[in-house]
C-alpha cells in the first residue's frame, strides 16, 4: 500500500471510509431488497389476503388488505373443489416424475456436447438452440397429432399394414405424453437445461476426467463417478427449475389430459369448477379461487425453500469446484 510510514494517519481515514462504505452498502442493499420485495410480495399478499376474505368483505369496498375475519373456510372449500389430494398425487406422479427424468436425460446429452468432439456436434448444437427458441404453443398442433397416432418411426404402422390392423398408439390422456419426451431429453424446456449443464460442465477441470480415464473407468464410469458428483450445483438448479415449470404447465396438459388432470389445469379452470362443485354452497367464489392459488403455490414454494438450503450447503462441502 502507500508506504508504512504514513500508515498511522491513513489508517484512521481508511477505516472511516471502510465503515462508511459498509454502511452505505448495507443501506443500498436493504433499500433494493425492500423495493424489489414490495414489487414481488404485494401480489402474493393480495392473494393471501383475498383468500381469507368472505364474500361480504369482497362486496365491502372499504376492506382492502386486511380481511375482517380469518375466513379459512375458503381453504376447505378449495380443497374439495380441486379434489386436492388426488390432483396433487396426479401432479406429482406425472409432472414431477417427468421433471426428474428430464434432469437426468439432459445431463447425459449435455455431457456428450460439452466434453466430446464429433463431427455432427455443430449441427446438433444449432438444433439445440432452435428447440429453445420455438415456443411450445406454436407447435402443439403437430405434436398433438403425433401423440394421437403415435408411430415409432413409422415401424408400427408398417407392421400394422402388414397385419391389417391399426397399431398406432394413442398416447393422449396418458402420462407418456410427458414421460417420453423427458426421457429422451426433449421435454419441457429441455434445451435450456442442456445448455445450463453444458456451461457448468465446461467449468469442471479436465484433469479430473483424465485421471479417471487413466484409472480405467469408461466414459460411463467417469460420468457417474466424477461428473455427476461435481455438478451438484447444476443438477440442483435444473431440478428446481424443472419441477417448477412442470408444476406450472397448464397449456399442453390441458390439451393432453381429459381426466386425471394436474393441478395447474385444475387451477386454470377453477372458476368453472367452483360453480360446478360448490355453486350456491360456497360463500365466496373469489375467495375460494384465491385459496386455490395458494394451495397451488405452497408445495413448490416449500420445495424451493428446502432445496435452497441444500443448495448452499452443497457448495460449501464440495469445496473446490470449477
Amino acid at each position: 500500500m502507500k508506504g508504512l510510514t504514513l500508515k498511522k494517519n491513513l489508517k484512521s481515514n481508511y477505516e472511516y471510509k471502510k465503515v462508511a462504505s459498509k454502511v452505505a452498502v448495507s443501506l443500498f442493499r436493504y433499500a433494493m431488497l425492500i423495493a424489489v420485495g414490495f414489487t414481488v410480495l404485494s401480489p402474493l399478499f393480495q392473494i393471501i389476503s383475498n383468500s381469507l376474505k368472505n364474500q361480504s368483505d369482497f362486496m365491502n369496498t372499504s376492506v382492502s388488505w386486511i380481511p375482517t375475519t380469518f375466513f379459512y373456510q375458503n381453504y376447505i372449500d378449495a380443497f374439495h373443489v380441486m379434489d386436492y389430494l388426488k390432483t396433487f398425487l396426479n401432479t406429482v406422479s406425472i409432472m414431477v416424475l417427468s421433471a426428474f427424468l428430464e434432469v437426468a436425460a439432459c445431463g447425459v446429452a449435455a455431457y456428450g456436447f460439452a466434453r466430446f468432439k464429433f463431427p455432427e456436434r455443430k449441427i446438433l448444437y444449432a438444433l439445440l438452440l432452435i428447440t429453445i427458441l420455438v415456443p411450445v404453443r406454436m407447435t402443439f398442433l403437430a405434436q398433438y397429432v403425433n401423440f394421437r397416432n403415435f408411430d415409432f418411426f413409422g415401424i408400427t404402422s408398417i407392421i400394422g399394414d402388414l397385419i391389417g390392423k391399426d397399431l398406432t398408439i394413442n398416447l393422449i390422456n396418458t402420462p407418456f405424453t410427458f414421460y417420453l419426451p423427458s426421457i429422451f431429453g426433449v421435454g419441457y424446456q429441455s434445451g435450456l437445461f442442456i445448455m445450463i449443464y453444458i456451461q457448468f460442465l465446461k467449468g469442471i477441470p479436465k484433469e479430473l476426467e483424465e485421471a479417471a480415464w487413466i484409472d480405467g473407468a469408461g466414459p460411463i464410469g467417469t460420468f457417474v463417478r466424477i461428473i455427476v458428483p461435481s455438478s451438484s450445483v447444476a443438477i440442483l438448479t435444473v431440478t428446481i427449475l424443472s419441477i417448477i415449470w412442470h408444476w406450472n404447465e397448464y397449456y399442453l396438459t390441458a390439451l393432453y389430459f381429459n381426466e386425471n388432470q394436474p393441478l395447474a389445469v385444475v387451477l386454470s379452470g377453477i372458476m368453472e369448477l367452483i360453480k360446478l362443485r360448490g355453486g350456491d354452497a360456497i360463500n365466496s367464489h373469489t375467495g375460494v379461487a384465491m385459496a386455490s392459488c395458494m394451495l397451488f403455490i405452497l408445495p413448490v414454494l416449500i420445495m424451493y425453500l428446502i432445496l435452497q438450503k441444500k443448495f448452499i450447503k452443497s457448495i460449501d462441502s464440495v469445496g473446490i469446484v470449477g
Partner: protein
C-alpha cells in the same frame, strides 16, 4: 506412434460423444423435428383443418400480407425489437446486482432469496392471471395469454394515481413505467438464480488470494468475479434473449397467439412466428457473437 495414439483416443471420443447424445437425437426425431417442420410448412401454406389435404402451398403470400397490409405487424416488430434491445442489458445487469447482493452474508439472507425467486414460481401462467385479476372477471374466459400487468394484484395503479389528482397523460405514463419496472423485476428470477449458482461456483481461494494482494472491491469484481462468470453470463444472455423473444405478453407473440386461440388460424400465425424468428435470431446472434468477441479480447 504419437499420431496413432491421438487418433485412437479421438476416435473413441467421437464414438462416446455420439453415444451420449444419441437418446437426445432420437428424441428430436420422434418429438421435435416433425412439429418444427410442420410449423415452417404452415407459414408457407394455407392450413385447413377439415380438408383431406391439410396444406396447400401459397409461397410467401402470408409474409407479403404481414409486411404490406397488416396494420399491426410492422409496428409490433419495431416494438418488440426496441423493447428487447433496451430490456436485455437492464435485465442482465439487474440480475447480476441482485445475485451479488443475495450472495453476501447478511441477516435475512434466506428470506431474501425466497422473495427474489418468488416471481419464478408465480409468474408462469396460471397464477399470474389471478394476480392480474384477469381470471376473476365475471363470466370471462380465462385467457391463456400472459396477463397484462397494468393492473397487477388488483391494485390499479392508474386509479391510485388518478385519485391523487394527476392529469391523465401523466398517470398513463407513470402506470406504464411502473408496469415496465414491475415486468423487468419479475423477469429476473431465473437469471438471478443462474448468477447465484455461478457466483457460488467461484472458489473461495480466488477471493482469499485477491484479498491478500490487496484488491479493492471494485477490482475484485472486475478481475475475479466477472471473468469467472463468463460462462454463466453467456447462459443468462441466451436465456434472457429467448425469454424476451417468446414471452406471450410481447405484442408479436400475442398477435400470433390470438390468431390461434381466437380464430384457429395456423398459417398466418406460423408466418408471424418465423418472420419474427428471423429478425430476433439475427439480433440475438449479433449480441452473442459480440459478447464472445469481447470476452476473447478481455482475456488476451
Amino acid at each position: 506412434m504419437r499420431n496413432k495414439k491421438v487418433t485412437g483416443i479421438e476416435r473413441l471420443k467421437v464414438r462416446y460423444g455420439r453415444m451420449f447424445v444419441l437418446p437426445w437425437t432420437i428424441g428430436l426425431l420422434l418429438f421435435f423435428l416433425v412439429p418444427l417442420f410442420s410449423s415452417i410448412a404452415y407459414a408457407f401454406c394455407n392450413v385447413s383443418l377439415v380438408n383431406d389435404k391439410m396444406l396447400s402451398f401459397v409461397g410467401f403470400e402470408h409474409f407479403k400480407y404481414l409486411i404490406n397490409d397488416d396494420p399491426n405487424f410492422m409496428d409490433n416488430i419495431k416494438d418488440a425489437v426496441t423493447s428487447f434491445v433496451y430490456s436485455l442489458p437492464i435485465i442482465v445487469a439487474l440480475s447480476l446486482i441482485f445475485a451479488i447482493i443475495l450472495n453476501q452474508k447478511f441477516r435475512g439472507r434466506i428470506f431474501a432469496r425466497a422473495v427474489f425467486f418468488l416471481p419464478v414460481i408465480i409468474a408462469t401462467g396460471v397464477v399470474m392471471q389471478f394476480v392480474t385479476g384477469a381470471a376473476l372477471q365475471e363470466g370471462a374466459a380465462l385467457s391463456t395469454s400472459m396477463g397484462e400487468t397494468e393492473s397487477y394484484s388488483g391494485i390499479r395503479f392508474d386509479e391510485l394515481l388518478i385519485n391523487l389528482g394527476l392529469p391523465q397523460s401523466i398517470t398513463e405514463l407513470l402506470s406504464d413505467y411502473i408496469a415496465r419496472v414491475f415486468n423487468l423485476v419479475w423477469s429476473c428470477g431465473i437469471q438471478i438464480l443462474l448468477f447465484v449458482a455461478g457466483l457460488q461456483s467461484i472458489p473461495d481461494q480466488l477471493y482469499e488470494v485477491s484479498k491478500i494482494e490487496g484488491a479493492t472491491t471494485w477490482e475484485e469484481f472486475w478481475f475475479v468475479t466477472f471473468p469467472m462468470l463468463g460462462n454463466v453470463t453467456f447462459l443468462v444472455l441466451v436465456y434472457t434473449i429467448v425469454d424476451l423473444f417468446t414471452a406471450f405478453d410481447n405484442p408479436i407473440m400475442k398477435q400470433a397467439y390470438d390468431l390461434i386461440s381466437k380464430n384457429s388460424v395456423y398459417d398466418q400465425s406460423a408466418a408471424i412466428l418465423w418472420a419474427y424468428f428471423v429478425v430476433v435470431g439475427a439480433v440475438g446472434a449479433l449480441i452473442l457473437l459480440a459478447y464472445n468477441r469481447i470476452l476473447m479480447k478481455k482475456w488476451n
